[in-house]
Structure formats: C-alpha cells, structure tokens
Amino acid sequence: MSRLSYIGERLFRSVFVIFLIMVASFFLIRLAPGDIVDFLMEGGSPDPEYVAALRRSLGIDRPLWEQFLRYAGGLLSLDLGYSFRMQEPVLDIVLARMPATLLLAASVLAFALVSGVALGIVAARSLGRWQDSAVTALSLLGYATPNFWLGLMIVLLFAVWLDILPPFGMTSIGMGYTGLAHAGDVAAHLVLPTIALGTHYMGVFARITRATMIDVADMDFVKAARAKGITEAQVVWRHVFRNAMLAVVTYTGVQAGHLVSGTVLIETVFSWPGVGRLAYDSIASRDHPLLLGTFLVTSVLVILINLATDIVYTFVDPRIEVKG
C-alpha cells in the first residue's frame, strides 16, 4: 500500500470516529433526566406558555433525527453551544484553556521520554544486576501509584517541607514577571505537576526502551555493526534509540486519551488553568454544555494526535509501506 492511500485510509477512519463522537455526545445529553429547559427553569415556577415557547425556539420539540442534524450541523460550523454560567460560547472557553494543557502535556512527555529512555538504557546494560531490578521496581511503582496522590505527596515534600518549589498555579500571583523571569516562573510551576503525571509514563517508556534494547542487541544487523567495529554508543544511538522511538511514538498516540484523563486530575490538584481543570469546574458549577464541550474538543484533539502519529510513523518506519 502506498503512503498516500495509507494516510487516506487513516483520514477516513478519523472522520468516522469523529462522527461517532458527535452521535455519542448527542445521546449523552439526552440520557439526563429532563431537558435543557427543565434545567434552566430549575427552582422557579415558570409560565407554561413561556416554557413551550422556549422549547420551540431551541428546537427541542422537533423529531430526534432533525435535532441531531441541527446539532451535527452546529458542531461542524464550530458551534459547541453556549455556557449560560460563564456567558460565553463553549468553544471560546475551551480553546482559551488549551495552551496551558498542551504545555503541561508536552512537558510531561518530554520528562517521561528523557528519564524513561535513560532508565531503560541503564537497565538493559546491567541486565540481572541491581540497577536493572531498581528500574523494574520503579516502573512497577509508577504503574501502581495514583497520579493525583503522588501529586499531593510531592507538594508536601517539595513545597511544604523543603519549600523549594511552588505548590500550585501556573504563575506567581502579584509578581508581575515578564520575559525570561516569567518563563522561569512558569517552568518552576511546571515541575511538580510534570513529575506527578509523568512518573507513570516514565515507567512505561523505561520498560519499552529496555525491551527494545534487548531485542535489537540480538539482531543480526547489530551484531554485524559491532563486528564492523562501531562503538557501543553508536549502536545505542543509531539502532536502539530509533527503534525505541518507534515504540514510544506508537504508545503516545494510543495513550493520548489517557494523558488527557490524567490532566483532569493533575490540573485539579495543582490548580493548573487548563482544560482538565475546566472539566472539573464545569461539574462543580453544573455547567453541562461546557463539560460536553471539553469532552468534544479533547476527543477531537486526541484523534488528531493519533492521526499525526500515524503519519509520522510512515516517515520513521519504512516497513509500513509493505505492511499495509
């Protein structure tokens, strides 16, 4: 299969999954007891004629398929509804929060990648010795520790007891930093949430790298390369690292949704002003259109990330063309 038709097929799949997301979100709203009008009129004793007029104007009295078409049409023209609580269109609110979440996610992935790959290489080069066991134990602990709890514990250690890092937020309030000082301030605020969310992925990447190192070391082309006399560092860099990166790219694509789920908890723990925190706040303020909007936007984002990793894959892995 050629690269173009492979990408085309992926594109078609993504469009189909986005369609499923629209259907799912449409029915999710309708699972709730009562409709939006009941919700808006909650607690009052509204005039029945006014209620009927409101239903008509919102189109809730129309048949279901017609409502769905209108809803889907709205989504396609980027109308995700209106947040009555925040008096703003949902899409604007969610997009305004997106950069903070993307920054956190990028920081988490960078941390997990660097530390995970390093630990994996250390483990693979000391197979069966204590370093190897230590990395395995660390990975297992990383899998088993709830990220929000790890967050609280490192806040306790580094912000409360040692007092060397800020415990929450994205910037220091009232300091009015600009330029480099501002960047440094944000970086300091990033450290704890990054560790809290990244430790799990560090464990995963360490295991992937270790496995790849061991697999690759057995392969003929690496034996041949060694026989040719290239150094160990070159073997690691040229062959192992590239193969480990393939696995890591795949994993990141598949787990992007998992990462977004993690940001909900971590952004809540650290009062990080991103989309995850927004999802939590929208529940606290009973802002259902906003909660649904965060679900829609983050889902579409994850699909785009998947699509991107699939496409990156075709460039990194030459085998994909034959594999089809």
Partner: protein, 283 residues
C-alpha cells in the same frame, strides 16, 4: 486435572505473584472480618478530630471530623475491590462479546465493531466517565458502568485476535460440519479456548479500575454513600499541611493493593502464556 495442577505449580513458582496473593488475601480477610468486630459506620463521628495514630481505640487515629481512619480504610478496601471486580465484569462482558462477534463474522460486522472499539479506546476515558456519572447521578452503579464502558476495548481486541486464529481450526470445522449454528460454535466451541489471554488482561483491569475509581472519588464524583480510599484522600486534602497522614495512609493502601494485583497478573501471564511471559521477562 493435570492442566489445573501444572497451572497451580506455575503460579506457586512465581515469587512476586505469591507475595501479591498473600497481600490480597490479607486485605480481603480484614475487609470481611474487621467490620464484624467493629460494626460502627465508617461515617460515625464519635471521637475527637485529628487524633494521631496509635491512640487507644484508634489504631490509625481519626480524621478532621473525628472518624476512625482504620475503619474508613477497611470499608474503603471493601468498596475499592468490589467496584474493581464489578467494573471488570462489565468490561469483560462487553469486550468478549464484541471481540468474539467481530472475529467470528469478520467483514462489515468486524469493520464497524472495530471502529466503535477504536472510538472507545481513543477518547479521554475519565472525561466520559465524568459525563456519565453527572448524567446518571453519582451512584456506585453509574461508576461501575462508566469504568466498564471505557475499559472494554483492550479485551475486545485480544478476544478478536484469538477468535480469528481459532475459527479456522479443525475442531471448529468439525462442529460446522455437524450442523451447529454459528452462535453455538462461537460460544460453545471457540470461546472457552480463547479465554486464557483474556484472564490475564482481566487481572490487570481490576487494578486499573481501582485507580480510576480512586480518581473519581478523589474529585468528589463517587457515590457519596460509599467510603472509598479516593474519597478519604480528597476529603483530607485541605488539611495536607497539618495532617498529611490522613492523605498519605489511604494512598499507600491503593499503591500496595494495585501493586499486589499487578504482581498476581504477572504470575498469571507466566502460568497461562509461558511463551509471551518469556518475552515479557526479557522486556
């Protein structure tokens, strides 16, 4: 019989698995027995708040409302394990059915079911669970349903792969030749032979269900009538500075339990899929 015995031997040979099983047995026993010896409600606010651990009558002290921490921990163990198991059952039911049907009938059925599976695999699971819990109301059942609904895709994928490889075997051809109906062949002939990799995933799934549930309860989105570890951590969070043990203790309980389940899962992998295990051992 001999298969069962060799399975048992393989399980016993795995030290981590044994350790994990011993710890889980301890947790289950305490969760079952302790409430009999101490029948108070974990919500009862009898004692002075913020009593330190090792106080007489309160082995792990009391929380900010004077509730016994040990009692909360024990009831938390009950519901964490219960919710973990029940949501795994939901997840297995959906995953096995979808995977088996997709793998057996192939073609368009397979194509559509796998796209739906992909949808559930891709979306941010926690946000969907939050939506479901908000829409259906925060009960234990909606939490179980929510976790089940977002965790089944991996089961479906494994099941599908197994069924795809089993459906061309001779014993299946024989059943077809004898005139058995497709669904009977699928559920009577193929399914029992496809289960061992699913069992391995199921054990890990209980662990991840416990983690998801703890996150939900931590956010205050769990069943408000059920004492859970996540709730204990979340409720004690405002007092982190002065009473950090109240947040630390239930977290340690989660880590140890999830670790134990994962180690049992590893030993199941070794026992049921020796070939995959040898690969994983090196991995």
């Amino acid at each position: 019989m001999s298969r069962g015995r060799s399975l048992g031997r393989a399980l016993l040979a795995h030290k981590g698995g044994l350790l994990g099983m011993a710890f889980l047995a301890l947790v289950v026993t305490v969760a079952a027995v302790y409430p009999l010896a101490n029948p108070r409600s974990p919500w009862a606010m009898g004692a002075r708040p913020f009593l330190p651990p090792l106080t007489r009558g309160h082995l792990l002290g009391t929380d900010m409302l004077g509730r016994d921490v040990l009692l909360g921990l024990v009831h938390g163990a009950r519901f964490s394990l219960l919710i973990g198991l029940m949501s795994t059952v939901v997840s297995l039911t959906i995953g096995i059915t979808v995977g088996a049907v997709a793998g057996y009938f192939r073609g368009w059925t397979d194509e559509i079911l796998m796209r739906v599976t992909e949808f559930f695999q891709i979306i941010p699971g926690l946000v969907l669970i939050m939506l479901l819990v908000v829409v259906l109301g925060p009960t234990m059942w909606s939490v179980v349903a929510g976790i089940g609904v977002v965790t089944w895709p991996s089961v479906a994928r494994i099941m599908r792969a197994e069924v795809l490889s089993l459906r061309t075997r001779q014993f299946v051809d024989a059943a077809r030749g004898l005139g058995q109906r497709p669904l009977a062949i699928l559920f009577v002939q193929i399914l029992p032979n496809a289960l061992s990799p699913v069992i391995v995933v199921a054990s890990v799934m209980v662990a991840s269900a416990i983690l998801i549930e703890s996150g939900l309860s931590f956010l205050g989105l769990g069943d408000p009538n059920v004492m859970t570890w996540g709730y204990m951590i979340g409720a004690a969070r405002p007092f982190l500075r002065d009473a950090w043990l109240l947040s630390a203790i239930p977290g340690v309980a989660i880590v140890l339990t999830v670790l134990a389940i994962n180690m049992v899962g590893d030993s199941l992998t070794t026992a049921l899929n020796p070939r995959q295990a040898r690969k994983a051992e090196r991995a």
